[in-house]
């Protein structure tokens, strides 16, 4: 495990930054699975959204994003069929990434942390909470061209509530298009 982490760090830090010159800004879209963690009353659903990608320092990328998620209808729980829909989870916030730099062709592993306002709402139960939460994860991108990337990532989401929190894992894939800005 230590070797894997070491190699990951080296790949991130020694990426050919020179290739990224002039490309600092991108826009993208993503989508995938939205898996509730330890929530009896929610099933696996979907999440999709849009994001911007801005290289802010040599190895950092800021990723403002809006995500529209919905958990699935709950399964029958200990014989209880609730017959209601899963909650909607909408968020807007920003991720800070190490790696997956714009403008680089090839494999680009990355890690990230994020902060977002998470709004969880269920029309059937009337549940409605909105609070600042956080996320973290890892992924790997692949640059087909200096202006076009894809990536897959796993994101752990913790959305605090009035007390306690709701948690989920997003497994998503995304596409990003980059603009050449500056020299």
């Amino acid at each position: 495990m230590r070797r894997v982490l070491l190699v990951t760090c080296l790949v991130v830090l020694l990426s050919p930054l020179a290739e990224a010159q002039g490309i600092r800004l991108g826009v993208g879209a993503f989508g995938g699975w939205n898996i509730p963690i330890a929530q009896d009353d929610q099933g696996t659903g979907t999440a999709f959204g849009v994001m911007g990608r801005i290289r802010v320092l040599s190895i950092f990328v800021a990723e403002p994003n809006i995500t529209f998620g919905k958990w699935g209808n709950p399964d029958v729980i200990r014989g209880i069929d609730l017959g209601i829909e899963g909650s909607k989870i909408t968020s807007y916030g920003i991720n800070a990434l190490v790696g997956n730099l714009p403008g680089i062709v090839g494999v680009k592993p990355f890690g990230f942390v994020g902060a977002s306002i998470y709004s969880i709402k269920n029309d059937d139960t009337g549940y409605d909470e909105s609070k600042l939460g956080y996320s973290a994860g890892l992924g790997v991108g692949y640059g087909f061209a200096p202006t076009f990337d894809i990536d897959i990532r796993g994101t752990a989401v913790v959305a605090p509530q009035e007390k306690g929190s709701k948690k989920a894992v997003y497994i998503s894939g995304g596409l990003t298009y980059y603009f050449k800005v500056g020299n």
Binding site: I80, T155, G164
Partner: protein, 175 residues
């Protein structure tokens, strides 16, 4: 290099799992308690006790909040027209309680539900739209035990009866 890179998504999930495990201080549970009304002096009465539920026993002392309270009711009415049905909750009055009427301190949770002749099922989803006094109901549910009363405009216990039902509680608790 590729050998290591292909482990990254799995490593990401592992990291996510570790983060979530570290934050797994709360979870959401759904439990149910049967409704078995008894006739007490011309009205329905039951003491609902959630504390015997296995999930409640495990997490009842660490409840953060009650997410939702609903119920399922199976009602049979032999009346020729609609019957007006009301339900109330109040704090647990003790094991030997035998009330003769709905106390003035009770909170109405079903208000003038019109029950047509024949068999009627109030689903959990439907109940969420008709339950009133939700703040008091959630507070009583959080206490684990409460008194549950019901009245109907006619046919008490004979031509009109609540055959069965369940109180369904969704709550979030920490470990």
């Amino acid at each position: 290099m590729k050998k290591y890179i292909r482990y990254l998504p799995a490593t990401g999930l592992l990291l996510a799992a570790v983060i979530i495990a570290g934050c797994l201080l709360s979870a959401t549970f759904v439990i149910r308690e049967p409704i078995k009304f008894t006739m007490q002096n011309d009205f329905y009465f039951q003491q609902v006790n959630l504390t015997d539920n296995a999930t409640w026993k495990e997490h009842g002392d660490q409840i953060d909040f009650i997410d939702a309270v609903g119920m399922v009711l199976y009602i049979t009415s032999g009346e020729s027209g609609n019957v007006t049905f009301n339900a109330y909750v109040d704090k647990y009055s003790g094991p030997s309680s035998s009330p003769a009427s709905v106390p003035t301190t009770a909170t109405k949770v079903i208000n003038d539900l019109q029950v047509p002749p024949g068999k009627t099922k109030i689903t959990y989803k439907k109940s969420l739209t008709i339950i009133t006094g939700l703040d008091r109901l959630k507070a009583l549910v959080k206490a684990g035990q409460f008194d549950f009363y019901a009245t109907s405009s006619s046919g008490f216990g004979s031509s009109f009866r609540v055959d069965s039902g369940e109180v369904i509680v969704t709550f979030s608790a920490h470990d």
